[in-house]
């Protein structure tokens, strides 16, 4: 711990970190210290664990299999890994997490993955093409649709490609700010479809991809907030299936700091389960680590 305090907070230079590390840190930045976070397997889990180690030590982490506030020593491979349950407050089951915590309104942030996303933050993790004879069939909702609609704020991590960033999903697993009203068969703002429910104003606030960070405007439409180092706005527009709003872009995504990278590499995923490789630290950081 003393060592962490010695690692400088200065941003790393290009080549000193890899894209998955940058993405995990971007996820961590979404977490507030007073959040109750419900996260899915993979980078979301790694990201919020990192947040718990740096910027949001008091954020409470929920994993869907029944884990309330796990304090991990070793990175879990899944949300039901005993590693995730280490030193948790209570251990229950899905009725606890989806009923007592989620439906009852305790969860402030949901962090999830997705296979495709529409312009309004609606996510597809079910199938591409016709539902009954799909070109691609994915795993299906899991907790995605529940967490993605009942957590107060939700955020997604998605691989950015033209076929994954689209005007309208083939199948909407988790509705965004616009969705179908199946009673009238109309495509409507979520606020109207969900009118009267406690969740009408809950929904996606951020998307992290391999190319940039995104947010949603007053109309519930996605816009580019920042582009990752080495990526141009042109490239981002080429990898988007609709006319993306880039007028609000604030600039380049903040590079991860040495301290953030140190925590992520040495404390969150030293076994390299989700991170593909470990990059060497620059000499002046290595010197601090070696003491």
């Amino acid at each position: 711990m003393e060592l962490i305090d010695k690692i400088p907070d200065e941003p790393a230079k290009p080549g000193e970190f890899i894209l998955p590390e940058l993405m995990a840190i971007q996820i961590a930045h979404q977490v507030r210290n007073d959040d109750i976070v419900f996260a899915g397997t993979g980078l979301p889990m790694v990201g919020i664990m990192t947040a718990n180690f740096i910027n949001a030590p008091n954020a409470l982490l929920i994993y869907e299999s029944g884990i309330c506030d796990g304090k991990t020593m070793h990175v879990p491979m899944s949300v039901c890994d005993q590693r995730a349950a280490n030193m948790s407050s209570t251990l229950g089951g899905l009725v606890d997490t989806f009923g007592y915590y989620l439906q009852n309104g305790y969860v402030t942030l949901g962090f999830l993955g997705g296979a495709a996303i529409d312009k309004y933050g609606g996510v597809n993790v079910t199938s591409i093409g016709d539902y009954y004879s799909p070109a691609h069939r994915f795993t299906g909702s899991g907790g995605n649709s529940d967490i993605g609609t009942m957590a107060h704020r939700t955020a997604f991590i998605i691989l950015q490609e033209k076929r994954r960033f689209i005007e309208r999903n083939d199948y909407t697993t988790t509705p965004g700010w616009w969705c179908w009203d199946f009673k009238t068969n109309e495509w409507k703002p979520k606020k109207e479809v969900w009118k009267g429910t406690a969740y009408a104003n809950s929904g996606p606030v951020a998307v992290v991809t391999n190319m940039g960070n995104y947010a949603f405007d007053e109309k519930g439409e996605i816009y580019l907030k920042s582009f990752h180092p080495g990526v141009t706005i042109e490239q981002i527009k080429e990898n988007c299936g609709f006319n993306l709003n880039v007028s609000r872009v604030e600039g380049e995504t903040k590079k991860p700091t040495y301290k953030e990278l140190f925590v992520l590499r040495e404390f969150v995923d030293p076994e390299l389960i989700f991170l593909p490789q470990k990059v060497e630290y620059p000499a002046h950081i290595q010197k601090i680590i070696n003491g």
């Binding site: 439906q103 009267g196 406690a198």
Partner: protein, 351 residues
């Protein structure tokens, strides 16, 4: 409807073969314990099911697991009513045989979400016919067009285990809280649950996450408990609050050490990530698949022989330590696990 009973069940201690023969049959509607391929999958029971040649199963569950992977590998599953169809180590990815069989039209997939399945089992467990849930309005999960069992003509009421509707959307009538979804109870015929310990009368206990195992036990007609160890019932009663399933809901108890391999039983053994990677690799081509099944499913004479075949080294690596409930000796990623120390987040949060 609730199954009114005139006498209590009496749990029988059986062998794996006997229990499978007694409770598993073609077309049975089954739920399997644990969560994804990682936690308390009753894999030995699924293994025995496949060896007995059982077909056309209707699996109603919360997840894909090592059990459903094996059932798909052997083509034993017909209907899959669940919410997450990935499995274990390959988390996020679909089981290859499932995708292949689904695309060939050999299977029916009915999609729900985790929350929805948890609520359906909760309704089943408390004897309620249905349950309201603030399921995601506007999600295609609740698109009337996407009702796979209805489309297959199976919601005609002839099968008492399949509800006549997938869901009903209606206006919340008591508080004026907008539209909500009613979900039918889940009422499987059989729940197969792997636990750490069972008393010799059937009281069962696990450590670690509960997922929805208590709910499936109460929702199902018949309950088979597989346990790492059977202990005297009196032992189970020394710390009763640590038990989850009382003996009166249990029909059969099977002592089956390492029966959840390659998934984990917290405080007994860890999941075997490399073994699951091998399963996934084998499923990617039919010849390798057949070889794998011959070697690991049809080859061993019994479950004990399966475990012996794994070798002492592997079992030592997987053995859980008594502090954390998992093992740090297994190579899961590209680097070995660091030694145990106090989690940094505990120090940071001041607990």
């Amino acid at each position: 409807m609730p199954r009114l009973r005139t006498q209590t069940k009496k749990a029988q201690i059986m062998s794996l073969e006997e229990a499978c023969k007694a409770f598993m049959h073609d077309g049975a509607m089954v739920a399997w314990s644990g969560f994804t391929g990682f936690n308390r999958n009753p894999f030995a029971f699924a293994w025995q099911t496949v060896r007995q040649g059982v077909k056309n199963l209707h699996v109603i569950d919360r997840h894909g697991s090592c059990c459903t992977w094996l059932l798909n590998a052997a083509g034993a599953m017909k209907i899959y009513e669940t919410d997450w169809m990935g499995w274990g180590e390959m988390a996020g990815k679909l089981d290859v045989n499932l995708e292949r069989r689904y695309k060939k039209g050999e299977m029916i997939l009915e999609d729900y979400s985790h929350g929805a399945m948890a609520m359906r089992f909760l309704a089943g467990a408390i004897g309620a016919p249905f349950i309201p849930y603030n399921a995601p309005l506007g999600s295609d999960l609740y698109n009337p067009k996407y009702d796979a069992l209805g489309r297959a003509g199976m919601r005609d009421g002839k099968n008492p285990k399949i509800p006549k509707k997938k869901f009903i959307q209606f206006e919340e009538p008591f508080w004026g809280e907008g539209e909500t979804i009613l979900l039918p109870a889940a009422r499987p015929e059989l729940a197969v649950i792997h636990v750490a310990q069972a008393g010799d009368k059937g009281t069962a206990r696990w450590r670690g996450v509960g997922t929805i195992d208590k709910e499936i036990a109460y929702a199902a007609d018949k309950v088979v408990i597989l346990a790492e160890e059977i202990v005297p019932e009196s032992e189970m009663r020394k710390v009763p609050e640590a038990n989850q399933i009382p003996y009166f809901v249990v029909d059969a108890i099977v002592e089956c050490p390492w029966g959840a391999f390659p998934s984990s039983v917290p405080f007994y053994y860890d999941y075997d990530a490399p073994f699951m990677r091998g399963m996934d690799a084998a499923s990617r081509n039919p010849e390798d698949m057949k070889k794998w099944l011959d070697e690991w499913v049809y080859g061993p004479k019994n479950w004990e022989e399966f475990i012996v075949k794994l070798g002492a080294k592997r079992l030592l690596d997987l053995k859980a330590d008594s502090v954390t409930g998992y093992s740090t000796r297994m190579m899961r990623g590209k680097k070995p696990a660091p030694r145990m120390k106090m989690p940094l987040s505990v120090a940071m949060s001041g607990y």
